[in-house]
């Protein structure tokens, strides 16, 4: 019980940190002179701050260290509490919005899914839009990683939290000796690339609000937009190109970016096996899908087909979720292939979701090892990724992860089917949510949105997003009896 109070204390502190995030929409509300919205945000900030303060105040004496076990609990607690508090401004500003839908919207934002239940985004208050996109951005690198970066208060437990929140199977290789320093560096790189993205989008013709919002959504690989038509609103090849580049950057391991910036060299990218595999897979897919669309007569010429195929494919494959056209109307192979890519192409340590490329590589490699074992029973063949040996226990944990991943997809799809959704919508909704990609197909396609789902279905999708963002283990471990045994 004592330990539980420690978790609550840390949760309180994290909420206090999170309440600072309201400052950005507050400033925007001031600039746009939206008095009502300003009040809403101040209220929301006060609520969050006070809740955090109370939690901290009553448990302030419990300064015990966080164990691995409590790290999981804290991360889970934070990732359910944050979206809840983040709904406050939405609920206050949009009276018709149910809590379920608001929670879906904020969870979608923080988990960088980018699926939305709101319509009339163009008419939405700029500050509310900024708030949604800021959630995308914060969720991308991870709010707890940010807290570890700026607050040493989490102490030794910081490393556990860091591991529980960042995606990927191999988390022990830190970039710097201190976890705080690592987290700080990652956030710094994230911030710098985001600023560059904002500047380029502004130069490419967006207004400041759109540039900031879309840069946030791009770097977090969230995929929220300030327009119902998403990127199709701008109809600008230049903007699409910039976004493609930054989506690919965000889909790579930020540790690689950090090493590249620190060493002032591009050579590190050549050793990033994951990134190279992702890039080559995406490039071939773009060319292939464009050819397919041209051949099917969806677009009259190859160049147009390539433009739309590239943007939408990169957007879905990296788990961002922008759309420039309604790709739900394409022959079904193309969007399904894009959703398949969304399962595997993001790198570990990126802001994308899904299985992650490194796990895919490990599985492929493992299949090769099994073949070799059959041909040469005495062969010694360690798992190697990019010339480095991967320990067998990591291979097993990857196998376990993949099993849980597919079981989760199948189970949740069945639950949606029971609730009355058609197969394509149910399946693609779960895939899009668990990969934090965004749009699915059919009723949840890029031209429509998730508002059509019933409350129950919405909660299932919320669960899928949370499982996807925290990579299943972190969430499911709380539901194992052993976790609660002393």
């Amino acid at each position: 019980m004592e330990r539980m109070l420690t978790v609550i204390r840390a949760l309180g502190l994290l909420l206090i940190v999170f309440s600072i995030a309201y400052l950005m929409p507050l400033v925007s509300a001031l600039i746009y002179a939206e008095t009502d919205i300003l009040h809403n945000f101040m209220l929301a900030m006060a609520w969050t701050f006070c809740a955090g303060l109370l939690m901290w105040f009553f448990t302030r004496r419990n300064k015990g260290e966080l164990t691995v076990r409590h790290g999981f609990l804290l991360v889970f607690g934070m990732w359910t509490a944050m979206p809840a508090f983040a709904t406050l401004p939405l609920l206050l500003a949009l009276p018709g919005l149910s809590f379920t839908n608001a929670y879906f919207e904020t969870m979608s934002g923080l988990s960088t899914t980018g699926a939305t239940v709101l319509t009339g985004l163009d008419a939405l208050s700029p500050s509310i839009n900024l708030w949604r996109h800021e959630l995308n951005w914060l969720g991308g690198m991870g709010i707890i990683v940010l807290a570890v970066a700026v607050l040493p208060l989490l102490g030794v437990g910081g490393r556990q939290l860091f591991k529980a929140e960042t995606p990927g199977p191999m988390k022990d290789s830190s970039l710097t000796p201190r976890i705080t320093e690592t987290a700080r560096n990652l956030w710094l790189v994230y911030l710098v690339i985001t600023l560059i993205c904002i500047a380029l989008l502004k130069l490419a013709g967006m207004n400041w609000l759109d540039a900031i919002c879309h840069a946030f959504a791009t770097m977090g690989l969230g995929g929220f937009s300030t327009h119902d038509a998403s990127i199709g609103y701008f109809n600008s090849p230049l903007i699409e190109f910039i976004l493609i580049v930054f989506m690919l950057l965000a889909g790579m391991n930020f540790a690689t970016h950090f090493l590249a910036i620190r060493g002032k060299t591009l050579r590190v990218y050549r050793h990033d096996v994951e990134g190279l595999a992702t890039l080559s897979l995406i490039l071939t897919s773009c060319l292939g899908i464009a050819y397919f669309l041209w051949w099917q007569g969806t677009y009259p010429d190859y160049v147009t087909a390539l433009r739309h195929a590239s943007f939408n494919l990169v957007s879905v494959a990296t788990d961002c979720g922008f759309s420039s056209v309604d790709f739900g109307q394409w022959p079904v192979f193309a969007p399904l292939w894009m959703l398949f890519l969304s399962c595997i192409t993001a790198s570990s340590g990126s802001t994308g979701g899904g299985i992650k490329m490194v796990r895919t590589l490990i599985l492929f490699n493992q299949a090769g090892r099994e073949f070799l074992k059959l041909l040469h029973p005495s062969a010694v063949n360690p798992m190697k990724i990019g010339g480095h040996v991967v320990a067998n226990n990591i291979v097993f944990s990857v196998l376990g992860f993949i099993f849980l991943y597919f079981m989760t997809v199948v189970t949740l799809t069945f639950v949606l089917l029971i609730s009355g959704l058609d197969f394509i919508s149910a399946f693609t909704a779960i895939i899009a949510c668990i990969n934090n990609a965004g749009p699915g197909l059919n009723v949840v396609g890029p031209a429509t949105n998730y508002a059509i789902l019933s409350d129950f279905q919405t909660w299932i999708c919320i669960l899928a997003m949370l499982l996807g963002r925290l990579e299943i283990f972190t969430v499911l471990i709380l539901f194992t009896p052993r976790f609660w045994q002393r």
Binding site: L372, H376, P377, S378, V380, N381, P382, K384
Partner: protein, 457 residues
């Protein structure tokens, strides 16, 4: 010469043995007293028990008035420190260290006189690896030795019935290959040397040593025996220092399988090698060899530490149908026993590597030494200095030089260009001469021949 040797392992003791026989004063230092005791019983040398990197031990070993330090202990670090100490405390003129780690060798500047003061570094395993990989490149040859940074090669090959030149006189060589110049340096028939002349006939079963420009080797080999198919599949038994290095060198161009007994070593090897199939098992386990299809292997190399295992594994492989088998054998008695029988090539690591050390010990300016036929013969690369007055070789035609019988000047390298040693060839200063000596006893005469008269300096 007074020489201090640190380390009485395989390298240390072989070097000691060779140098003692050449009338040098040897002191050998090691931590293992029993090893030293055995050595002292056998050879006429002084031994000392102690840590080779301690100044007091080095002083006691008489490094203060030694001409040369040979640091060949198991540890690179001890060898380097000993060289540094020899330079700073005792001013030893020549310091040679055995350095095995590629990491150190990648930074040659650390051996400079400001740092570890290593004049020459040798790596026996690397020499052996190069030697074996040359044999795999030229599967017909028994031995391929390089001089002048690989420009000139000395090749040993067994003549086979059916080779175009076999059964003919040596003078036919020119007519067969008018555009290629080569010299036959020696022929060994039933283990006794024949000094080749124009009228000497090559017979089947002869071991022919010829010297040629490295790029012509393949064509000359063709004249003496039919060519084998180029090797493709290699099997190595033993993943020690040599097996590992060999696999690393070969894995890009050949299909390599490596069998290692130690499971843990297997894992390290597999992580280091990228295109090699690492197998865990015993090299003498015929079921393993069979399931890995040893019969289809082009070259089978048994490179473990254990002579008997190597011989047995090679015999098994040969019986299963491996095309060419090669065994690493430390005991020189065994080498003579098995070479030329079922085992195609018996390698004695000591003899392969001793040459590189001897090059530093020889009087006169010697660039390379290769020990041949288990140390009986030797091939040297000597550099001629001085002029007609101060030197006995410079400014003279080859047939004017007073070479002992049985020694031949096979080739000359002048400014990077290879010139074959014909009798009317003039020698200039700074020429590199490749000299083949069929009996080691002549070496001192040749050394003297190449020494420059004091007046030169």
């Amino acid at each position: 010469m007074k020489i201090v040797i640190l380390g009485s392992g395989q390298v240390g003791s072989t070097v000691a043995e060779n140098l003692v026989n050449e009338a040098n004063d040897i002191t050998i230092v090691d931590t293992d007293a029993s090893k030293l005791h055995a050595l002292q019983n056998r050879l006429d040398l002084q031994t000392l028990v102690g840590n080779a990197s301690h100044p007091s031990v080095l002083r006691q070993a008489g490094l203060a008035d030694a001409d040369m330090l040979l640091a060949v202990t198991q540890s690179d670090e001890v060898n380097m420190v000993a060289c540094k100490l020899a330079a700073s405390l005792f001013n030893t003129p020549t310091r040679i260290a055995r350095i095995r780690s590629a990491d150190y060798l990648a930074h040659p500047e650390i051996f400079s006189n400001d740092n570890f003061c290593v004049d020459f570094s040798i790596c026996p395993e690397q020499i052996l690896t190069d030697y074996i990989s040359k044999l795999i490149e030229f599967p017909e040859a028994l031995q391929v030795l390089e001089f002048s940074h690989g420009k000139v090669s000395l090749v040993a090959v067994r003549a086979f019935k059916g080779g175009p030149l076999v059964g003919h006189e040596l003078s036919q060589l020119r007519k067969h290959m008018p555009q290629i110049d080569t010299r036959v340096a020696a022929i060994f028939r039933q283990d006794s040397p024949i000094i080749p002349e124009g009228t000497t006939r090559i017979e089947a079963g002869d071991e022919v040593f010829f010297i040629a420009d490295s790029k012509n080797i393949r064509q000359i080999l063709k004249e003496i025996r039919r060519m084998d198919k180029p090797s493709k599949r290699i099997m190595i038994v033993g993943g020690g220092n040599i097996g590992r290095r060999l696999a690393l060198t070969l894995e890009q161009n050949y299909q390599v399988k490596l069998i290692e007994y130690n499971k843990h070593a297997c894992e390290t090897l597999a992580s280091e090698l990228n295109n090699t199939l690492v197998l865990h098992g015993d090299g003498t386990d015929e079921t393993l060899l069979e399931s890995e299809r040893v019969g289809d292997v082009d070259v089978f190399c048994a490179l473990t530490n254990d002579d008997e295992n190597n011989i047995m594994a090679s015999l098994l492989a040969k019986k299963a149908g491996a095309h060419k088998v090669l065994a690493l054998i430390n005991r020189s008695a065994y080498v003579g026993l098995v070479q030329g029988g079922k085992i195609d090539i018996a390698l004695s690591p000591a003899h392969v590597t001793i040459g590189s050390l001897l090059a530093y010990v020889r009087q006169g300016d010697v660039a390379a030494v290769h020990s041949l036929r288990r140390g009986a013969a030797e091939a040297l690369e000597l550099i001629a200095h001085g002029d007609r007055k101060s030197s006995q070789v410079v400014g003279r035609r080859l047939d004017e030089i007073n070479l002992p019988k049985g020694a031949t000047i096979g080739a000359i390298v002048r400014n990077g260009e290879v010139i074959m040693g014909h009798h009317d060839q003039m020698i200039e200063a700074e020429d590199h001469l490749i000299v083949f000596v069929i009996n080691k006893k002549m070496i001192s005469k040749i050394e003297k021949l190449f020494q420059v008269n004091v007046g030169f300096f």
